[in-house]
């Protein structure tokens, strides 16, 4: 596991660094669930194919539900904890342009990444009440954010996107 850098990127124009809202976070989480399940399924299929090639036997997790559950839990833990500790963002978060940072704006530490990953199921298991803070709190803290002392911010450079959009328009009159 790579230790993240302790330096902080300088502030830039746009929404970068602002607390991310609930819709973007929910969309990123949905994308992550899809991505992690997709990768898990592909991994299990690949592993089964390799075992089949090597031994001629079949791997069927459907018949071993406890083993499948443990494998999924370990995989989900690795998926989130590793990616958050690496750069503060998962695949879904990268797509939606958000990232996790420490409450003071510094990069998230591996310890915070692990705490956040362990606490995430708590927010879900409490009938989703752990997420209500994203809508109500001034710093948009979910339960797992509060426990890990982290916040989620926009990392997407809206200004660059605007310039790209303007650049696609035909030049009007030369300066």
């Amino acid at each position: 596991m790579t230790t993240p850098s302790t330096t902080v990127a300088p502030p830039v124009a746009g929404r970068q660094g602002n607390y991310a809202g609930g819709v973007t976070r929910l969309a990123a989480f949905a994308a992550d669930v899809g991505a992690s399940w997709g990768i898990f399924t592909l991994g299990v299929a690949g592993l089964g194919f390799a075992i089949n090639l090597a031994t001629g036997g079949q791997v069927n997790l459907a018949s071993r539900q406890i083993l499948a559950l443990i494998a999924i839990i370990i995989w989900e833990f690795v998926y989130f904890a590793y990616q958050w500790s690496l750069g503060g963002k998962t695949i879904g978060m990268a797509l939606l342009g958000i990232r996790v940072v420490a409450s003071d704006g510094n990069p998230i530490t591996p310890r915070q990444a692990v705490i956040r990953t362990v606490a995430l199921p708590l927010s879900i298991l409490l009938l989703g009440l752990g997420f209500i803070g994203i809508l109500l709190n001034k710093d948009r803290h979910a339960l797992h954010d509060r426990l890990a002392k982290t916040v989620v911010v926009y990392s997407w450079d809206a200004r660059a996107a605007r310039l790209r959009w303007l650049a696609k328009q035909e030049p009007t009159t030369p300066v």
Binding site: P11, A13, G21, L96, G105, L136, R162, A167, V175
Partner: protein, 190 residues
Amino acid sequence: MSPLPGANRMEQLVESIAERVVNLVLDAVDINALVAQIDMDAVLAKVDVDAIVSKVDVEKIIERVDVQKIIDRVDVDEIVARVDVEAIIDRVDVQHIIERVDVQEIVQRVDIDSLVEQTELGTIIARSTSGVASEVLDVVRAQGVGLDDFVARWVNRILRRSSSEWPAGPTRLISPAPAEVPALAAEVAR
């Protein structure tokens, strides 16, 4: 003519004698030595220069001077050629000047949107950065941010509170520039 007879001749004789005497005296006197003995400082001290100057009509003198003619005779190129520009530049504290320039203010005055829109710079940016994937991402992210703001507005309305005094984000990450995402979301959605 003189009333006395022979007076005319007498007069001419006296004049020639006087002329001769003066020439002899002048030949005999060393004028340089005489001048050297004069205390010029003492003489000048007695001269009232202010009184002399006050009598001079300077305006009249200036009026008679053809300034244009003087300027025409001045070889500016030659004067400039004699100036050691390098030495002047060396004496200028450029760092001090740069420190006094507010670059941030200059950048803020630049209309980057207009610059990108009206020049080839836009095409260069488009070629170097844009693709279908980034365009889709921009749209998705802009829509997401727009929906975030929409939801936050409605939650605040329902709870009857104002979020204007809330921090936008961690202080270390917040940009002083105003947010432009809502405008972008509207433009992209069009």
